[in-house]
Symmetry: C2
Subunit: 297 residues, 2 copies
């Protein structure tokens, strides 16, 4: 399947899965459920879900379990955006081209929306599925929990808000580490969940997939930082220049735009090398990586 068709097929699929699984806005507490649906169904490229499906299909994973895993990573991602946008955090008013959650529903409700979406991510992944051995599913839950916890996504955000941007800029390793946690951990987890759903147990394959996804995650974040400087609010659907305005350490700010572009390109090449070493059908994953680094929004 060519990538554009793959992307639209699975965007449609995951949007339908999320729509069907999220409690309806008629279910009490209706304001919470309405807000959850606003945040999850209001847009997004579904790239993490696409990574789950692309990897899972390469390993022959069952569709139901892939749906559960893809829903879980998208719900985790959505919750992190809701909390990141809060006034106490990045204070961003715009997300997916619409007012961010707290602008519509208030700060308190936005905190609860994020909290409920995180719980719902685990609920989706924990549901019994005939597609895999329960022991495999348990492992997937542990992978997700670690990836979005204090040593992963939340840890990266904590480093981002608590470390002096100038010290991050002075130590490129610290900047790498922060971004690998903040963005990379969930991207790595998406690939790993797909592989585990397909019962991949080969440590060499899992390691190679980890290396691929880790480099992809880094390159993806640099691309994000480049777009934050070069694109527009209209195209991005979120406030352009927000990172610079918040005085956040980012590759283009520290090393310059040209160096950032070269770095993203180099990481992309390295990620493909990791992928080439795996004995699997990886064309869709490779095409997805290319798309993620050439995207304009």
């Amino acid at each position: 399947m060519k990538l554009p068709l793959f992307l639209t097929t699975y965007q449609t699929r995951i949007n339908r899965v999320l729509d069907a699984r999220l409690p309806s806005a008629d279910t009490e507490p209706s304001s919470l459920h309405e807000a959850m649906r606003y945040c999850v169904l209001g847009g997004g490229k579904r790239l993490r879900a696409a990574l789950v499906y692309a990897t899972g299909e390469a390993f022959g994973a069952g569709q139901t379990l892939l749906d559960q895993a893809a829903a879980a990573v998208e719900l985790a991602h959505a919750y992190s955006l809701v909390h990141d946008d809060l006034p106490a955090m990045d204070n961003d008013d715009l997300r997916h081209g619409r007012p961010s959650c707290h602008r519509v529903y208030g700060d308190a409700m936005a905190i609860l929306v994020g909290d409920a979406l995180q719980a719902f991510a685990f609920e989706c992944l924990a549901r019994s599925s005939a597609c895999a051995a329960p022991v495999q599913q348990l492992l997937m839950l542990e992978v997700l929990a670690r990836a979005i916890g204090s040593l992963g996504m939340v840890g990266g955000q904590a480093l981002d808000i608590s470390t002096d941007p100038e010290s991050l800029a002075a130590h490129s390793q610290a900047l790498d580490s922060m971004q690998q946690k903040k963005t990379g951990a969930l991207i790595v987890a998406s690939v790993k969940l797909g592989a585990l759903a397909g019962d991949c147990q080969d440590p060499l394959q899992l390691q190679a997939l980890h290396d691929f996804a880790s480099k992809l995650g880094q390159a993806f974040q640099i691309r994000d930082d480049i777009l934050d400087r070069e694109s527009s609010t209209e195209v991005l659907g979120k406030t352009q220049g927000a990172d610079s305005a918040n005085n956040k350490a980012a590759y283009p700010a520290v090393f310059g735009l040209q160096a950032a572009k070269e770095r993203a390109e180099a990481l992309y090449s390295e990620s493909l090398k990791s992928l080439a070493g795996i004995n699997m059908q990886s064309a869709t994953l490779a095409a997805l990586a290319k798309f993620m680094l050439q995207r304009e929004f």
Copy 2:
């Protein structure tokens, strides 16, 4: 084992488990881990953990899985308190007799502490354990996720902040429903996790335990509301009168102190009746229920 000994034994045990499992404050991001430890290890009666252990022991559950489940419910409870105390929510400065999380670490870090503790709760419960079949553990993860999600704990908090207190007061059913979600769901889950850890599969037993815990949860919340009016900040370790000050709907405010006490007593009796119908060693659970409703803090 007499209840006071049971309580101190398992308080010591769960505190040791939590201390050992939480990442050390030396692990990066150190400020996040220090704050997580401050919030989890800074006090608390560990009543939810005690419910897990008491039920689990009655069903012969293995200690490792009980430790995982007890840690998970205490981490979920701790995260909910950190977020509830935020200025955007209840704006409470005191917790367990010490400044609340955001007063020490700031609002942004407190949001992240809660987020990381929720992920860590699931991570603890998902870890492989030789004590139970993975399918049982998967079911426990689903029970926890539902209990603390939008139809449980977070849903109750959403109703609490979004419903006019006067309309809650006018409809005692709505007040019941809010409190059953906000407080009751995690208490019910604690009992259920203990039973599932012991591989209880009898639907009648599970239903009776559900009824017991549900009534206990309601009575426990009314006792909490009574203490909020009658006790002192020093004894409670949290701001006395906070609910009244925040104009929250609560039993004593709506029905008067005497009626609230009688209601708690009636619910306690009903909970014991549910327990009596179960073919199990329930003396510790019954004693624990009594303790939870006679507590002075």
